[in-house]
């Protein structure tokens, strides 16, 4: 027989809690209801506390009933305050969950003798005691009780999401469409909120309010940084939850601290890492795109400067500094841009002064044509002559062959508003 030690049970409990929360939380994030999740996970506290008070042991059924009622009350109160009492929605969420949470804390402290919960445990749970909280039926032990509860909830959530996948997807991304194709959006809303309440309660006891809030929101939002596809987002979200459960346990044992808190810290770290390196939304990717783009713009502007000058003075060669100035970007980018132009054999160097190569002339004429076509087009729309240059400067880089042909057909003139020749297409 394999010896299963405490660490295994703790990580398993954490993984089941984070996994269930991450699964449902993704929909909260997509439906812009994150804060309702936040509110729910605080507001179930008085339900749990009252259930403990009356059932005086940690009986599962009263706890779920109490918390489910609280969850329902929260949703209803937020709606009532917002719609019937004319309170702003954010403020009404704020009032409801702070009041219920405060009530829960007061109950716990006033009846400290009868309620087997304390303030700290409310915030960050008792996951460390999981291995000793055994399920005992008759005379035999069947492993930790939280693991059983959370496994049930996790399977239930999984089943819910798989069974209603299509409905949830449509209702999340396009509520109007959902109504149009006959999906009961209100029913989906309440089913989802019901599932969230259930999960919150189950996870609350083991991992506390904070881990629940974090796991509802952070994994889903992180996965949303990585993908556009719902099934990928869901798989990623749950995986992030699992990873943080494992990483959190490891971190807490390494640096003695609250395990649930450490799990939150790890999922937070995953989020910030994703914020940096995600391929589309990440900071690095965005910066890279900007660098690449400004490099392109700098090259285009240098080519344009060269070809404009050559219209007036065929043999003129630019010095390095002159070209840099024409590029009108950050100097480091200008240096790179000029180097790239040389490497692409678009410009040639002669005595440290630069002129267009044959290929460069062709590319430069294409850009100049774009620029002047756009100027002529804007001027045709009625823009005054001195207002067309700057927009054309911004747009010239994006005009493809087809759009240029369309513009050409549209403008019917051979010159730009200043009377300069629009170069013909090659």
């Amino acid at each position: 027989m394999i010896a299963i030690d405490g660490a295994f049970w703790i990580v398993l409990t954490g993984a089941l809690a984070t996994g269930s929360c991450a699964l449902l939380g993704t929909f909260l994030v997509l439906r812009k209801m994150s804060l309702l999740g936040d509110a729910l996970s605080h507001a179930v506290l008085p339900g749990i506390a009252i259930a403990f008070l009356f059932a005086d042991s940690r009986a599962i059924v009263p706890m779920f009933v109490g918390a489910a009622i609280c969850g329902l009350v929260t949703t209803l109160l937020v709606e009532t305050f917002h719609r019937k009492w004319n309170v702003q929605e954010d403020a009404s969420i704020g009032i409801v969950f702070t009041a219920l949470f405060a009530l829960g804390v007061v109950i716990i402290t006033v009846f400290a003798g009868q309620v087997d919960l304390d303030q700290e445990c409310v915030l960050y749970g008792e996951i460390a005691y999981t291995p000793w909280d055994l399920l005992i039926l008759g005379d035999s032990e069947y492993g930790p009780r939280p693991v059983w509860i959370l496994s049930g909830v996790f399977l239930l959530d999984l089943f819910f999401v798989l069974f209603f996948y299509k409905e949830l997807k449509i209702a999340s991304f396009d509520p109007a469409m959902a109504v149009a194709v006959g999906i009961n959006a209100t029913l989906m809303h309440y089913l989802l909120m019901g599932a969230v309440s259930l999960t919150t309660v189950a996870a609350f006891e083991s991992v506390g309010a904070i881990l629940v809030v974090a796991m509802l929101i952070v994994p889903g939002a992180t996965a949303y940084l990585w993908s556009d596809k719902l099934h990928v987002i869901l798989v990623l979200s749950v995986s992030f939850g699992f990873v943080s459960a494992l990483g959190g346990y490891w971190m807490a044992s390494l640096w003695d601290s609250s395990i649930a808190g450490a799990m939150v810290a790890v999922v937070g770290a995953i989020f910030f890492l994703s914020l940096l390196i995600s391929p589309n939304q990440g900071v690095v990717a965005r910066l890279w795109q900007r660098v690449v783009f400004s490099l392109q713009v700098a090259q285009d502007h240098m080519l344009l400067a060269l070809v404009r000058r050559s219209e007036v003075e065929e043999q003129y060669r630019f010095s390095r500094d002159e070209l840099m100035e024409m590029a009108s970007v950050w100097r480091g980018v200008a240096v790179l841009a000029l180097r790239r132009l040389e490497r692409r054999a678009l410009v040639e160097r002669y005595n440290d002064r630069f002129h267009l190569a044959a290929a460069g002339r062709q590319e430069a004429l294409r850009l100049l044509r774009n620029h002047r076509l756009w100027e002529a087009y804007l001027s045709g729309l009625g823009l005054p002559e001195d207002h067309v240059h700057d927009p054309a400067d911004a747009v010239e880089h994006f005009i493809g062959r087809e759009l240029a042909a369309e513009l050409d057909a549209e403008v019917e003139v051979q010159t730009d508003p200043q009377g300069k020749q629009i170069p013909p297409s090659e």
Binding site: V29, K32, M33, S34, L35, G37, D38, F81, K84, W85, V87, Q88, D90, A91, S92, I93, G94, I95, T98, A99, F101, A102, V105, V106, T109, V110, A112, Q119, E120, L123, Y124, I210, L211, V213, A214, L216, I217, V218, G220, A221, Y224, L225, M251, A252, D256, S257, S258, A260, G261, A262, M263, V264, A265, V267, G268, F271, L275, Q281, V283, R286
Partner: protein
């Protein structure tokens, strides 16, 4: 418990006076700033900010080893502001929406704070006590030095609000207009956020990071029920906040273990519920009464008009039976009977045998309402807004709302442009020929 209460109320103990003054400051500054925060929709950002302050408190202690309030609050401010900046950054540069960004910052920063706090507790041994009061707050832990810090912060907040009151007002109610006046909405928003930060810091020790946001939100929303004017709302909100602080502290002083923050929040919530119910005009009870009054007037006027319609068809009779009125109104006879009796008590009607006749009061109002109804029908038809068989319903709804001034104006329009005699406005359904001739072609 009684002993505790008396000791508290006598204010004999200097410590009690400190605590009371402190909680008054906390509540009042929260209510003051909360008005602006809520109206500018920054209430939940305030919540995130407060949660994000926790790791700052723990780090400040870890780095300096000091538990002096100014040092801890400095750490709290830095990490709180950092949290707000992260929210800003995430919503600006990614597709994650504000609600998720707030939730992320709130929970992750708080989680990190918990990690640091529990680490300090387990490693630091006996020296750790005191930091966990920042979770739920402990007003009793306030000492004279803390009060000095809080008073200075509160003074800054009050001075800033007085000085920038007009800017905040313009920013809240009409940001577009505000920027055309040459002010920067961005800069004013930053200033407001800065003041929210300071307000959170004032209450951090006594209310705790978890619930301090409620001191910003709840009194302000409660005050919103009492006034339509910003100035009044701010004053009422400050008063509610201050009262929540004092009463909350008093209640939590009755028993040793009750944390102050949650009790203050519950007191503020009590003010909110009471305000929502009893406030004049915007309160629920006053709105219910207004609606009931309107409904009663509406059915009374329908009753009176039905009488006039019947009287026009049967010019001989002076009284009409309940059943005839019921047919005319399309109501159940029992409802007509009930209303008739009630109107008789109020002096509108009188019972004649099996039916009803009108008293002077009922006659006057009935005449007015018939006229309103018909003038509106004619107006809708004449202005080609609706066809003759579609004008009855809208007139049914509007007749109760027309004032004598509007009636007069309608009379002028109709008599000048259509030649309709205001004294003889007849049922439109009997006089369509008039319009046909009049050339609605």
């Amino acid at each position: 418990m009684v002993e505790n209460a008396l000791r508290f109320l006598s204010l004999a103990d200097a410590n009690v006076r400190f605590v009371l003054l402190g909680s008054l400051l906390i509540g009042a500054t929260g209510g003051l700033l909360g008005s602006f925060a809520v109206l500018r929709r920054r209430s939940l950002v305030g919540d995130a900010l407060a949660h994000a302050a926790l790791p700052g408190v723990a780090l400040a202690y870890l780095l300096t080893g000091s538990k002096a309030l100014p040092i801890l609050l400095l750490g709290a401010t830095i990490s709180g502001v950092f949290g707000v900046l992260v929210i800003q950054f995430v919503t600006t540069y990614t597709r994650i929406k504000a609600d998720s960004a707030i939730g992320i910052v709130l929970s992750v920063f708080f989680g990190i704070g918990i990690v640091l706090l529990t680490h300090i507790q387990r490693v630091g041994g006996g020296n750790q006590s005191g930091l966990d009061k920042f979770l739920f707050g402990q007003a009793a832990a306030m000492v004279g030095d803390d009060l000095v810090v809080m008073t200075v912060l509160a003074a800054i907040i009050i001075a800033a609000v007085l000085f920038f009151y007009k800017e905040f007002k313009a920013l809240i109610f009409d940001p577009g207009f505000f920027s055309t006046l040459g002010f920067s909405s961005r800069r004013t928003d930053v200033l407001l956020m800065g003041l929210i930060v300071l307000t959170v810091m004032v209450g951090l020790q006594a209310v705790g990071v978890v619930l301090i946001a409620a001191m910003l939100i709840t009194p302000a929303v409660a005050a919103r029920f009492w006034s339509e004017r910003l100035g009044t709302m701010v004053l009422v909100s400050t008063a509610f906040g201050g009262a929540s602080g004092v009463v909350g502290t008093f209640i939590s002083s009755l028993a040793p273990r009750i944390p102050t923050g949650p009790v203050m929040v519950l007191v503020a919530t009590f003010f909110f519920v009471v305000s929502a119910l009893v406030a004049p005009r915007r309160g629920l009870i006053s709105r219910w009464r207004r609606e009931r009054h309107n409904r009663q007037r509406e059915s009374r006027q329908h009753f009176l008009r039905a009488y006039f319609e019947l009287a026009e068809k049967d010019r001989e009779s002076r009284s009409f039976s309940t059943s005839a009125l019921a047919v005319e109104l399309g109501w159940k006879a029992a409802r007509v009977e009930r209303l008739g009796r009630k109107l008789a008590r109020q002096g509108y009607t009188e019972r004649v045998g099996a039916g009803w006749t009108l008293m002077q009061r009922g006659f006057d109002e009935g005449l007015f309402i018939v006229k309103s109804h018909r003038l509106w029908e004619h107006y809708l038809y004449y202005r080609s807004i609706l066809d003759a068989d579609h004008v009855d319903r809208p007139a049914d709804e509007v007749e109760h709302l027309l004032t004598p001034e509007i009636i007069e104006r309608l009379e002028q329009i109709l008599s000048a442009e259509r030649g309709i005699d205001p004294q003889q406005v007849v049922n439109i359904h009997g006089s369509l020929s008039h319009y046909r001739r009049g050339g609605r072609e």
